[in-house]
């Protein structure tokens, strides 16, 4: 099981800003380990953020997103105490979903 995504969501003037740090190695499949063997590709391919069941962002990643993908975006609406959920899926079928309460 992958490590939890660190998420912060705060609302100001009716706009919620979400900051997320997904914990993932994002191996591109071209790097080699110390023994010279190729490290297989392992990276997040899809992610989705929801607030109150409504999708507020959907993303697809390639291998060129940095290790531990960082993301900031903003959406209208969202109230303090409402929940923001970030879900991701990687190329090996592993998934992770984390949620955070919006702070006001």
């Amino acid at each position: 099981m992958a490590n939890p995504t660190r998420i912060r969501a705060s609302v100001k003037d009716g706009v919620t800003e979400v900051r997320a740090l997904m914990q993932h190695d994002m191996e591109n499949g071209r790097r080699k380990d110390e023994a010279g063997a190729l490290i297989p590709a392992w990276f997040i391919t899809e992610m989705k953020v929801q607030c109150n069941g409504k999708i507020v962002l959907e993303g697809q990643f390639g291998t060129s997103v940095s290790r531990n993908p960082y993301l900031v975006f903003r959406f209208k609406g969202g109230k303090p105490k409402e929940k923001v959920t970030l879900f991701w899926l990687d190329n090996l079928g592993d998934t992770r979903s984390d949620e955070v309460e919006i702070s006001g």
Binding site: L57, V65, L71
Partner: protein
């Protein structure tokens, strides 16, 4: 061959298994937990676009012809990146109703970095961190009302990280 670079045979089989048998159970579980809502089509990961080795292939796979440079898009990225493994990028569209933001690097082994689908109510703003293999042009493509716009900047990379 392109697929192999992304997934070993085992992985492909695993994915296939997920998509058929095991996938149904997983999807039901996700649907039940409210993560995937039936009726809302999720944006499928576009393998061809993400496997594309250059800009043209990636754009072809996305079905986009390279649009004109536009001043509506603000692309914030350092002129010189000391560490190519972590290059901060911010794309901001001043036009309302931005539908999609895609980030590409023309000289990376795979040109398409990320593609975001922006639903109504979400602002045309994305800030993230990307890898750059070498000095290259970073391109942001923004879709507004069905039309694509572009902003690009050259970034000098001191130490590549891809």
């Amino acid at each position: 061959m392109i697929q192999k670079r992304y997934c070993s045979t085992v992985d492909l089989e695993r994915r296939r298994a997920l998509k058929t048998g095991g996938g149904v159970g997983l999807l039901c579980l996700l649907a039940a937990s409210g993560l995937i809502q039936p009726g809302i089509a999720s944006a499928e990961w576009q393998k061809a676009a993400f496997a594309a080795k250059n800009m043209d292939e990636a754009l072809d796979a996305l079905g986009i012809t390279i649009p004109e440079e536009s001043t509506f898009i603000k692309l914030t990225i350092p002129d010189i990146a000391e560490n190519g493994a972590v290059v901060p990028v911010t794309v901001e569209s001043s036009l309302s109703r931005t539908e999609q933001i895609a980030i590409l690097v023309d000289k990376n082994p795979t040109a398409l970095v990320a593609n975001f689908v922006i639903p109504e109510g979400t602002e045309g703003y994305i800030s993230t961190k990307i890898k750059m293999a070498q000095t290259a042009t970073v391109i942001a493509l923004v879709k507004v009302n069905g039309k694509f716009y572009r902003a690009s900047r050259e970034v000098k990379v001191t130490a590549g990280g891809c």
